[in-house]
Amino acid sequence: MATELDCSGKTIREINTAIREHIARGEDAVVVRNPGARHNLGVALLQPSTVKFDGSVGYFCGGLMDGATVEVNGSTGWGLAESMLSGTVIVRGSAGNGAAATIRGGTVVIHRHAAARAGVAMKGGLLLIGGNCGYMAGFMGQRGTIVVCGDVGEAFADSMYETVCYVGGEVGELGNDAVIEELTAEDLAFLEATFTEHLPERLAELKPRIAGFKKIVSGRRLWNFDKTDWDVWQQVV
């Protein structure tokens, strides 16, 4: 049975210490009540464990994490799961700017919307957004995968390396050197498996849409300088 922890009247340090103590005692799951959208909750969780926030959290929730599972039954502020090494972060509501920025691995699932700069500089892992995402998502992505079921904002997938993006809705405007590629059989299978695993309640709606997703990758024109690409470089620099 899950242990419960009430945030009321506690400082952030007291809450995070209590979460770590629960995990150290080997408890399967900790349910955190009344998080009150406060910042820095559930950061640097370095052991396999499950922490469920029953409400919204503030900035940097699940940041610097390695191997834990964090669920947020609400929305989150800036820097969700920032620089995570591995683990799973699930948000039932929406996320603020910079969700899953610079993650190296693991999975971040946002059921509603993500704001600006989602998944920038990702070095691995999966970012799955059930709704829309904002300006400059995927900027300078090095590895990993971004899946957005809804629309994406301007400067999408700008200056990327090897991150692969899939978009189910409209693309506001592709970023520099971002190109749309044909979906392969592997892509279709990957999307179906991803939705089956992470958004099963929406599978009936998403599955027929899979073939209409756009795959967006780097056009590789910015990987090495070539003077015939001067026009693109002028825009970027």
Binding site: G36, A37, R38, H39, G55, S56, G58, G74, S75, G77, W78, G93, S94, A95, G96, N97, R112, H113, A115, A116, R117, N132, G134, Y135, M136, G153, E154
Partner: protein, 302 residues
């Protein structure tokens, strides 16, 4: 930093806006310890003009108060007068030119300023934390339809009452603004407006937003059009809220550099820099989303 908040009640003209706005603002006190303020709209159904006048920054102002009241009486009957700390609040039977009334009051002394004017608008702001607003001015007693609030971390201009926010858009009754960010073309805009005779009361870059919106609205734009135009006319980082007698709106800059979250239910609209403010006043309200770059929203009172 700075924290901004907004609240609009869809169901009542006598909602506890003062209390709600303060509850939200208290949660953002840590974002702006320098000063705090609110702009509250006290509901329709009144054609008197309400003035909140700063008598000075610090000191005893009994004589100024008497002089100003006398001056105002030459333009319209004074229906009510009260003071709290540096403020003189007047209700006046006056529907004439707002500029004329302001100028008459402000000619009393250099640091006298009409902080707000309108049929419904009342601005109370001061140096210090939001708690001071309640202790000194009993803000939570004020009821009405909607309101905005601000906690300030000063980065570019001095800390006193006039440099605090919200800013009334001087000269345009019932228009108030709160801003989080920096307007980097402030000096250009200010110079341009000053050439057209606009008086700036502070060196705070946020003041220009009110001036800008008043200018656009007076050209016949709607609030939505004016906020949308500002995305390109204002440079820098901003999330700001603007409120008129029957509207509450926000605009976020092209690069989404400053936070702003909002949610809407059947009964209210709630907007804040951080969700912690929304949670403080409406625990578990849900549906909160961060505004996107270039997003503009305006809500009308029914």
């Amino acid at each position: 930093m700075c924290g901004i908040i907004g609240f609009l009640d869809k169901t009542s003209d006598t909602a506890p806006v003062g209390e709600t706005v303060l509850t939200m603002l208290n949660a953002l006190a840590c974002r702006g310890p320098d000063s705090a303020g609110v702009a509250l709209f006290t509901g329709p159904g009144n054609d008197r003009t309400v003035l909140r006048i700063k008598l000075g920054e610090k000191g005893v102002f009994a004589e100024r108060q008497a002089n100003i009241t006398k001056r105002v009486q030459t333009l319209g009957r004074v229906l009510a007068a009260e003071t709290s700390e540096e403020y003189l609040r007047l209700e006046v039977d006056y529907q004439g030119d707002p500029q004329q009334l302001s100028a008459l009051i402000e000619s009393e002394a250099d640091n006298v300023e009409v902080v707000s004017m309108g049929n419904a608008l009342e601005i109370v702001k001061q140096v210090g934390s939001p708690e001071n607003l309640e202790q000194s001015h009993g803000v939570s007693r004020i009821t009405g339809t909607h309101g905005i609030g601000h906690t300030r971390l000063s980065t570019e201009s001095k800390v006193d009452l006039s440099h605090s926010q919200p800013f009334w858009a001087h000269g345009r009754p019932d228009l108030a603004v709160v801003h989080n960010g920096h307007i980097t073309n402030y000096h250009n805009l200010r110079r341009r407006y000053e050439q057209h005779g606009v008086r700036f009361y502070t060196d705070n870059d946020s003041e220009v937003i009110g001036v800008y919106l008043a200018d656009r609205l007076s050209q016949g734009m709607t609030l939505t059009e004016a906020l949308t135009a500002s995305l390109y006319d204002l440079d820098g980082s901003f999330s700001y809220l603007a409120a008129t007698q029957n509207e509450l709106g926000f605009a976020k800059d092209r690069f989404a550099l400053k936070p702003l979250l909002f949610t809407e239910t059947d009964s209210e609209v709630v907007v804040a820099t951080e969700e912690i403010a929304i949670e403080n006043a409406f625990p578990g309200i849900g549906g909160v989303r961060e505004a996107q770059a270039k997003e503009v929203q305006v809500w009308q009172l029914n």
